[in-house]
């Protein structure tokens, strides 16, 4: 999908929109009545728009909050603040039944294929659950649709009447995808869908995701720490650091010209196979900051930033720009 198309898609009502989403985790420290609460802002005011048929790639490392964002988006984890809109409608607002129906339009595929299927449920049953949830009750209809879904993800009828532990990681991931598809969703959050798989299987699953998107007109939020994976599927990319989006742009632009120092760091840290044995000096960045060293009120990336100046501590940077947006005071300035 070209940049222009993706922009057109955004011009209409985005399929999924997130406005100023926040999720805090608090951990009680100290004695039961006298301790304080340590608050971790896993998602710290994130706003995103995802157009129909698009893939938004969300890049971040551990601690960035990207997985939490995916789960909060689907209301699997209650949010602290902000809104989540599906086709313009707030998903949490409506009645319980209505919101459940709405939530079925948004599904998720998880990273760990070993934990994402009920080990005590036959594979076919896991998928049938989805079909029944979607309202199907006729047994014949269910079986036939089950067969279609299983075939669509590249599995065969021999995989239906067995337990998940007999399948390999890649096969389980296919089952997880089939289950997600069983309720006819429009939107799927793929949370590190291939990270736990072998290299040769990763390619199979990525191809499958691409094919299904084309076949069913799906919209994806692809969460990954792996820039290569993002590159393969994403139209638009957002980079997340410590709960905030620090850069977002159409994929080609981000990969051609990363602007935020953190994005640049991610790119430079990527081992490049095309360097063919030449030991490319990857430029050592500052090591991880100790906990608590992140300054209040200033830019969260300050401790690790090679372009930081004292002024960066004065305020939190916000996303600025047009199609390619970056949250950095130093963007555009000389080194």
């Amino acid at each position: 999908m070209t940049v222009e198309n993706s922009m057109d898609a955004l011009a209409q009502t985005p399929l999924v929109e997130v406005v100023n989403l926040r999720k805090n985790f608090s951990k009680r420290r100290g004695l039961p009545f006298f301790g304080r609460d340590d608050v971790v802002r896993a998602v710290d005011g994130v706003s995103l728009k995802i157009g129909k048929g698009q893939t938004l790639g969300l890049v971040g490392e551990s601690g960035s909050g990207k997985s939490t964002l995916g789960r909060v988006l689907l209301d699997l984890v209650p949010r602290t603040a902000g809104s989540v809109l599906f086709e313009g409608q707030e998903i949490g607002g409506a009645s319980v039944a209505a919101s459940r129906a709405l939530r079925r339009r948004m599904q998720i595929v998880f990273q760990d294929p070993y934990a994402s299927l009920n080990p005590r449920m036959l594979v076919g049953e896991s998928i049938r659950e989805g079909l029944r949830a979607g309202g199907m009750s006729d047994t014949a209809q269910i079986e036939s649709r089950l067969g279609e879904l299983v075939a669509a993800v590249g599995l065969g009828p021999e995989h239906i009447h067995i337990y998940p532990h007999r399948l390999s990681g890649g096969q389980r991931q296919r089952v997880a995808i089939a289950r997600a598809l069983s309720v006819n969703p429009s939107f799927i959050v793929a949370d590190e869908p291939v990270s736990a798989l072998d290299l040769s299987i990763q390619a199979q699953i990525l191809n499958l995701l691409a094919d299904l998107q084309a076949q069913f007109g799906l919209t994806y939020l692809l969460i990954s720490h792996d820039l290569n994976v993002i590159r393969y599927l994403a139209d638009y990319v957002a980079v997340m650091y410590r709960g905030r989006i620090v850069e977002e742009a159409p994929a080609e632009q981000l990969f051609a010209d990363p602007q935020h120092p953190y994005t640049q760091l991610l790119f430079s840290a990527l081992p490049k196979i095309d360097h063919r044995g030449k030991r490319v000096a990857r430029g050592v960045a500052a090591s991880e900051p100790a906990r608590g060293a992140v300054p209040e009120g200033g830019c969260a990336f300050y401790p690790r930033c090679v372009r930081a100046v004292p002024a960066c501590l004065n305020a939190e940077p916000v996303l600025t720009g047009n199609k390619h947006r970056t949250a950095c005071f130093r963007v555009g300035e000389p080194e």
Binding site: R231, I273, R282
Partner: protein
């Protein structure tokens, strides 16, 4: 100077079997390779390829049901397979060290890191507590853990993943070993931390002149850090070559398939060429080439004739019938 003085590790015809319900799995099925002094040797492969088993076989750290059934592992001329248990204990941690994948579980949670690093020193170098402390502080500094004084008495759970891996490296390098085996050392870490850890390993290696056996499924990582790479599949090495050669002129169909199936950040939305099917576990008799069922270049007799290792070009070995049947 004799050529063999230069060789730190020579693995020859190594076979390791693991007992499972109903038989044995051939985890390592005839593996041979050589690591020279100061060399960084990469062992690539997916899960089930036998790369970790190979490392455990070298270190004699196999699980209860695993045993080396054949072959030799010569560390500076001395065969580790037949060495006594005391000799192995003496060598482990001192001349041959290993770091593991998951820093969360590789460190003992009830001892301070100063204690754990110092243990090697006390055991192998006979240092007393204060000597060990001094050396440990130096090690902590050298692996980039600042504030060593305070960190000395800290417990593993107070560290992040990257820091713990640094501690592991400090432990491994405490006695300046000749060989460092790193089994997926950065797989559990973020890519920015990974970069630092590998830079650290390389720096320290240069300081003490150790050889490194780097095991990982991440081909890109091996590309950047290794001098030579061996690719493993189903317990066997299918191709060995210098990094340059392997990446520019891969010979084995599996190697080619792996390289072709990797999403690369500079290639946009093309179609990946995945390897179809699943990697096998080897039980019972091996008949023919293990990769044949998935091989795009498969020929008629690949299912019945097991390929031997050939060397079509100097320094570049491959196990595939495409290159002939006899060495």
């Amino acid at each position: 100077m004799n050529m063999t003085d230069n060789i730190t590790l020579e693995v020859e015809d190594l076979y390791t079997h693991i007992g499972v319900q109903g038989g044995e799995v051939r985890g390592v099925d005839g593996v041979s390779f050589v690591i020279r002094r100061g060399e960084v040797f990469g062992l690539a492969g997916e899960s089930g390829s036998g790369k970790s088993m190979t490392a455990f076989s070298i270190m004699r750290l196999l699980p209860l049901r695993g045993r080396v059934v054949q072959g030799s592992v010569r560390f500076k001329g001395e065969d580790l397979v037949t060495a006594s248990a005391e000799r192995i204990s003496a060598l482990r941690g001192d001349r041959v060290a290993m770091i593991f994948q998951d820093p969360m579980t590789s460190l003992n949670p009830v001892f301070t890191i100063g204690d754990q690093i110092g243990e090697s020193l006390r055991q192998h170098r006979g240092m007393n507590a204060s000597e060990a402390r001094v050396k440990t502080m130096q090690l902590l500094e050298s692996v980039g853990i600042g504030d060593a004084d305070r960190r000395f008495g800290s417990y593993p759970h107070e560290f992040s993943g990257g820091m713990r891996q640094r501690v592991m490296i400090a432990m491994a390098l405490a006695c300046s070993p000749d060989l460092l085996i790193a089994d997926e050392p950065t797989t559990a870490l973020d890519v920015t931390i990974e970069k630092q850890i590998l830079a650290l390993i390389e720096e320290l290696r240069a300081d003490i002149g150790a050889a490194i056996l780097l095991i990982t499924h991440n081909l890109a990582l091996l590309a950047e850090h290794c001098d030579r790479i061996a690719v493993m599949y189903a317990g066997q090495i299918v191709e060995t070559a210098s990094t340059e050669e392997l990446l520019s002129k891969p010979l084995h169909p599996y190697t080619k398939a792996l390289l072709g199936s990797m999403p690369r950040s500079h290639i946009s939305k093309g179609r990946l060429k995945p390897v179809t099917g699943l990697p096998p576990t080897i039980t019972g008799e091996r008949r023919g080439c293990a990769f044949a069922p998935r091989c795009p270049a498969r020929m008629a007799h690949c299912d019945s004739v097991g390929p031997l290792i050939l060397e079509p070009e100097p320094g570049h070995q491959v196990r595939c019938l495409l290159f002939g049947e006899r060495p």
